[in-house]
Amino acid sequence: MNEIGPLKIILCKNKEAVFLLLEIKIKIIPKIIMHKKIMYICIMSNSKLYKGSLNTIILKLLNENDKMYGYEITQKVKALTQGELNITEGALYPALHKLEAEGLLDVEVAKVDNRLRKYYKLTESGTKETVNKLEELAEYIKTMQALVNPKLA
C-alpha cells in the first residue's frame, strides 16, 4: 500500500476484484473507485487487449477444428494460452452470433448426452475471412513489435 497525500492507494491485481467495503462484498469492474478517501485501483486486466482479436481467435480455432461448440472454444483457448486468456460467456456468444449473422459461420445441431448441442463451423466465406483476419493480425503484431521493441522487429 502506498500513500500519496491524504489518499491511500490499494493496488489489486485481480481481474475481477472483490473488495470488502463496509462489510458488504461488492463486485467491481476493474477501475478506480473512491471510498472514504481511499482510492482503490484495480490494475486493468489484459482482456481489453485481446478483445479486438476475439473474432480472429474464433475463426482460427474453427479453421483448425472443423466444428466446435461454445464451451469447447473457451476451454481450448484457456488450454492453448495456459490459462492466460479466459474468454467469458458474455464475450464469446455475442461474437459467435455476430459471425453467424455475417455469414462467416454456419450452425449444426446434434444430440449429445440427453441434450442438444450447437456446433459452429466455418462457411466458405468464413474460411476466406480467416486468412484475411490472420494476415491483419500478423501485420498488427509486426507494427506493435516495431513500436514496443524495435530490436526484435
Binding site: 458488504i24 461448440y69 476451454q75 467469458t88 458474455g90 456468444y93 453467424e100
Partner: protein, 241 residues
C-alpha cells in the same frame, strides 16, 4: 462426471425461471452450463450446487451474498438476478435481426433478376391498377391484406408446427416481415394527417404503396421459409451416440 437427466432438467427449469423463454436460446445456454458444470465437478471437485452457482455468476448475473444464510445461498443465488441472461438474449436478438434484414435485402435483389417474379410483379401492379379503375373503394383493404401476408403465413406455420412458438429466430423473422405492414400503416397515417381524411387522399397513393412494398414482402416471406427449413433441418435430429 456426466450429469443425470434430472439434473439437466433442473437446469432447464432454472433457465425458464430466469425468464429464458425462447427454446432456441435456452438450448445453447443449457449445453454450455451442463458442460461447464460437468467440467467443474470432474476437475475442481466442487458440488453440483457450487458449480451451478459459479456458472450462473459467470454469465454476468449479479449476486450479492450479504445477509443470506449459507444454507440459502444456492436457492436464492440462482434467482436473485437474471441480468446476464437478459443481455445474452438481447444481443442474440440484435444479431438475428441484422441477419434477417441482410437476407431480406439479398432476396429482394435476387427477385429483380428473376423473370418469373418480374412477371408476377407486373400482374400484381396490373391487378391494383384494375382495382383503382373499377373498384376504388376496395383498394385500401386489398393493400392492407397484401401487407399482412407475412402475418397470415406465420399464423399458418405456428398452427402447423409448435416449434415456431417461443422461438427467438421465428419471433425476429416475423418482426422483420411485419416491418412492411408497420411502414404501410405509418405512411397511411401520415397521408391521412396531410389530407385530412381517407376520402380526400389521392387513391393512387393506395396503389403505389402496396406496389412498392410487394417485393420486400416477398423477400421477407422467403426469409421466413428459409428460417423454417433451416430450423427443421437443424433441430429434427437423430441421436448420434
Amino acid at each position: 462426471m456426466k450429469l443425470t437427466k434430472e439434473e439437466i432438467q433442473f437446469i432447464d427449469n432454472y433457465l425458464v425461471k430466469n425468464e429464458v423463454k425462447f427454446w432456441d436460446v435456452r438450448l445453447e445456454l443449457l449445453d454450455h452450463i451442463v458442460s461447464a458444470i460437468e467440467d467443474k465437478i470432474g476437475n475442481e471437485g466442487v458440488s453440483f450446487n457450487e458449480a451451478l452457482l459459479e456458472v450462473h455468476k459467470g454469465f454476468g448475473n449479479q449476486f450479492i451474498e450479504y445477509g443470506i444464510s449459507k444454507k440459502d445461498i444456492f436457492k436464492k443465488g440462482l434467482y436473485q438476478s437474471n441480468f446476464g441472461f437478459k443481455k445474452f438474449t438481447r444481443k442474440k436478438q440484435k444479431e438475428l435481426g441484422r441477419k434477417y434484414r441482410k437476407q431480406n435485402w439479398k432476396n429482394v435483389k435476387n427477385l429483380f433478376i428473376n423473370p418469373k417474379f418480374l412477371l408476377e410483379y407486373l400482374v400484381f401492379i396490373g391487378l391494383f391498377l384494375t382495382l383503382y379503375k373499377f373498384l376504388p373503394k376496395y383498394i385500401f383493404l386489398s393493400g392492407l391484406m397484401v401487407l399482412m401476408i407475412p402475418t397470415f403465413i406465420s399464423i399458418y406455420y405456428s398452427i402447423r408446427d409448435k416449434s415456431t412458438w417461443k422461438s427467438l429466430s421465428f419471433a425476429m423473422v416475423l418482426s422483420s416481415g411485419m416491418l412492411w405492414w408497420t411502414l404501410y400503416n405509418l405512411g397511411f397515417y401520415i397521408m391521412k394527417y396531410y389530407y385530412g381524411s381517407l376520402e380526400e387522399m389521392p387513391q393512387m397513393i393506395l396503389v403505389i404503396i402496396p406496389c412498392i412494398f410487394y417485393p420486400f414482402l416477398r423477400g421477407s416471406i422467403k426469409v421466413y421459409k428459409q428460417v423454417y427449413i433451416n430450423n427443421k433441418f437443424n433441430y429434427n435430429l437423430k441421436i448420434q451416440n
